[in-house]
């Protein structure tokens, strides 16, 4: 009985741990301002280093937008992202161009979301983390904080 309780406790504790992706404290200002002008500044742990490198090399056509930065800023942001990137085995590949939403971890974490929610006008895009995770910018992706009531479990 005790063992069951322990398993249940562990089971409830681990997802909560995995759903916190705090922003590293040493994030350069260039990262915070440049990367949060059109979407939240996604935490470096959401992609593996090789995918961040690929993404930073293609800012001229960043999902249809010109997101170029000067060379010094690009190096600063790239170094920060790669230093704090997620481990390849945990995150998985992000495709080409790299998309956080195509990583194995993102797909696994969202596999129970019915397709109609992705099209919901409140959500708009899978890139809009804050539509469901109000504290996403602070690194909180907990299932308990989902702001769309129908999706809260």
């Amino acid at each position: 009985m005790k063992r069951l309780l322990l398993i249940a406790l562990l089971g409830s504790a681990f997802p909560a741990l995995a759903d916190r992706l705090p922003m590293p404290a040493n994030a350069p200002t260039s990262f915070t301002t440049e990367c949060s002008s059109c979407h939240i500044a996604y935490q470096p742990a959401l992609l593996q280093a090789a995918d961040w490198r690929k993404l930073m090399a293609g800012l001229g056509d960043h999902f249809g937008s010109d997101a170029t930065v000067d060379q010094k800023t690009g190096q600063e942001i790239g170094a920060f992202l790669e230093r704090h990137a997620g481990s390849a085995s945990r995150v998985g590949n992000a495709g080409n161009p790299p998309r956080i939403t195509q990583t194995a971890r993102f797909i696994r974490k969202h596999d129970e979301i019915p397709a109609k929610y992705w099209r919901d006008p409140r959500v708009k895009s899978a890139a809009n983390c804050e539509a469901c995770h109000p504290d996403a910018a602070k690194g909180s992706y907990s299932e308990h904080d989902i702001s769309i009531r129908e999706l809260r479990e």
């Binding site: 059109c38 937008s65 010109d66 708009k124 809009n128």
Partner: protein, 134 residues
């Protein structure tokens, strides 16, 4: 021709510190005047440009696609849903205070929405509209 070094000098001197909307407007007016004698900026033309629909980008055909029908309102990125603070100086005093930032966003958004670089005259009109709209 004499205006070009003057504009370059003005831009260089303004590059590093906070400026007023009037000073930023002046940068673009000087540049437009050097191409078009007697140019005067117009908030009305700026507003028309703000509302104009361009056949370049389905998701964001006009400035209003993200910035709403009034620059006094907060907007929302048409693709990502990220909230955008108002463009009008009257609603957001931080607007038009950093020439490099203004130039960066004209660069990105003109390319993306208009489909080409905006002219100095268009920028002068637009900045005039944003600083005067109440």
């Amino acid at each position: 021709m004499r205006a070009i070094p003057a504009v370059a000098l003005l831009l260089a001197s303004l590059a590093c510190h906070a400026e007023t909307p009037q000073q930023i407007r002046q940068i673009y007016v000087a540049e437009a005047s050097s191409q078009q004698a007697g140019f005067t900026p117009s908030a009305k033309r700026g507003e028309a440009f703000f509302r104009q629909r361009f056949a370049n980008n389905d998701k964001m055909p006009a400035c209003t696609s993200c910035h709403t029908d009034s620059p006094l309102n907060a907007g929302e990125h048409a693709v990502t849903g990220k909230s955008i603070k108002p463009l009008a100086v009257a609603a957001n005093p931080n607007r038009l205070s950093d020439p490099a930032k203004v130039e960066k966003w004209f660069g990105r958004n003109c390319k993306e929405v208009v489909g080409r670089a905006c002219t100095p005259a268009e920028k002068a009109d637009f900045v005039t509209f944003l600083s005067e709209v109440r």
